[in-house]
Amino acid sequence: MSTKILTVDDSKMVRMIVASTFKPYDCEIVGAADGGEGVEVAIKEQPNLIFLDITMPVLDGLQTLQKIRETPSIAHIPVVMLTAESDGQRLAAADSLNVSGYIPKPFKPEQLIELTAKIVPLTLKA
């Protein structure tokens, strides 16, 4: 069974870069453009891992993370925050909501692969 990854980011470019990064791997990639949609997609798709942008319109990454942790059917899913800024207070808030890791933007594809492999099974396509 392939690993399912959800990317929640208002930038389609970032969602596409994540999808492109995992193309060689046995992964199914789904995306959402904002936090509200991200929670809905997570409930429906039950991903193994969520990449979550911090700075987003409407519902930002921290608010989305809070919702994820409050929703029993998806509360257990590991979340990795994508962030262009390292604001200590916001990262501390994310830490308190059990974040599995951080990927600073801009990132190299290898950074995504390396961290993902530590959290969920990642195998190259046959």
Binding site: K12, M13, A84, Q89, L91, D95, P104, K105
Partner: protein, 192 residues
Amino acid sequence: MRGQDPRLPMHREMGPSCHVDHSLISAWARDSVLGVFKTAFGLTAVQVSAPQPPEQSEELIFSEIRFEGSVTVCIRLCMSAGGAASLSSIALRMPSAEICDAHLDDLVGEMSNMILGAVKSRVSDLGIPCRMLIPSVTRSQAILPTAPSECGSTMLYFLFEKHCIAVEISFTHTTECSQLEARLRNESQPYS
């Protein structure tokens, strides 16, 4: 103690006596532009003193983004659609022909977010509170700006491949921030 996650890159410590001014913000922005090109696209951008004259009129994409607080910084990023297509092609590993306008706008907006995000991190590392806003992207048929749009702004120009990118940086320093810096300086005085 700061709450920064140790897995994120730690910026150079400036110490509480550091004075955040326009030249420091501009230097951070310059470093950030070069870092984004290197990390996101594997390219070396070169800073130049003036924009390159365009061979022909080309559509330009502008992105404006700011963070606000005790220090407010706004950057306006401008590049040609051709330049954005070249970078999109690298980032998405797709032929340029498959890149659409929405990709280009998104790329320029995300680049401005990453460039300013790194500057904001350095300001936050000094204990100065500020909040990042969302970029807005527009298009225009024009030539690259040769002068800042606001008094007190700085223009930086960079070349990559055969394209030019302009970055305008404007900076506002509130009284509150000056007081914060003074307090940090006082707290750092050794006991006698």
